[in-house]
Symmetry: C2
Subunit: 144 residues, 2 copies
DNA sequence: ATAATATACTACTAATGTCGTAGGAATAAT
DNA sequence: ATTATTCCTACGACATTAGTAGTATATTAT
């Protein structure tokens, strides 16, 4: 149940883009520097996110990346699923015929419960929500 | 977020033991046959479960394994944690100082939410609950 | 005693996935 | 042209998983 850096980095990169909406393309090296991620590695993650349709890119000088949709239209579950793969993958939860015991299997019921719990959290949060949370955090900083 | 077979097999083995409470030690090969797991692999899993104090063993002929505590006293979260490791491990959720951004990091907040959701499910279920569920399933079978 | 049965322990391995690094090609702005 | 950037492919070190194999040790049955 360990989260891969692929997922963690990818979501943090998406968050940078979400915070940059309306300001044109954001460059890889900027994201990488801010989030302390290897540029070359992030390069590959962005390719995944791009082919999944979450971001679009502008090539050449002054280029960079931006969100392909509005932050409120991108759920965390979408990006998570793209980078980390299906939540709590146990074959039998998705394929009834994978195992003869499926119908009665209480273990399978538990995995399904877990899956639903995680999915519920991730589906309830959009990147707009995260940007808003960040702003709140910043405000608190100023008050101190 | 894929569950290892170690965790899945281990929990299913524990469930066999839970269903066998009061009937003396249950042998590895029986568990392995019923659950369709390699005896030798299960051997190693039981060693983990034993050193964690969830099961105890009887060596020699007529030996086998049994639960070290009553089924209602063993939470799924305990066994899960033992086999799979900490739920949703991201260093920063457990160690505030792991990353300078920790305090304000919205990504970290999300990982914490996930962690709590999964933990809540696993902590709410004991092996007695699972045994009861199995009985209910069996009853349904008879009605059909 | 001896044989049979079971756990206990250690070592090994093949396959896979993760987390990058490296190098260059394509594209666009200056 | 030069510079800055994305795009693409290949490679590699490392860790983990999911076992297999063999032997030692303990207990019971004969």
């Amino acid at each position: 149940m360990r989260l891969s850096t692929r997922t963690r980095y990818g979501i943090r990169a998406m968050l940078e883009l979400a915070e940059n909406v309306g300001r044109g393309p954001l460059q890889l090296k900027i994201i990488a520097r801010r989030q302390d991620i290897s540029v070359k590695y992030l390069d590959q993650l962005m390719a995944i996110l791009k082919s999944a349709g979450f971001v679009r890119s502008v090539r050449g000088s002054k280029g960079g990346y931006m969100l392909a949709k509005a932050p409120e239209q991108i759920k965390l579950s979408d990006v998570f699923n793209c980078l980390e793969g299906p939540v709590v993958t146990v074959e039998c939860t998705e394929n009834e015929n994978y195992c003869a015991r499926s119908a009665d299997c209480v273990a399978r019921q538990v995995w399904t419960q877990l899956q639903e719990a995680v999915t519920a959290v991730l589906q309830s949060i959009t990147f707009k929500d995260l940007v808003d949370r960040t702003k709140n955090n910043k405000t608190v900083d100023y008050q101190i």
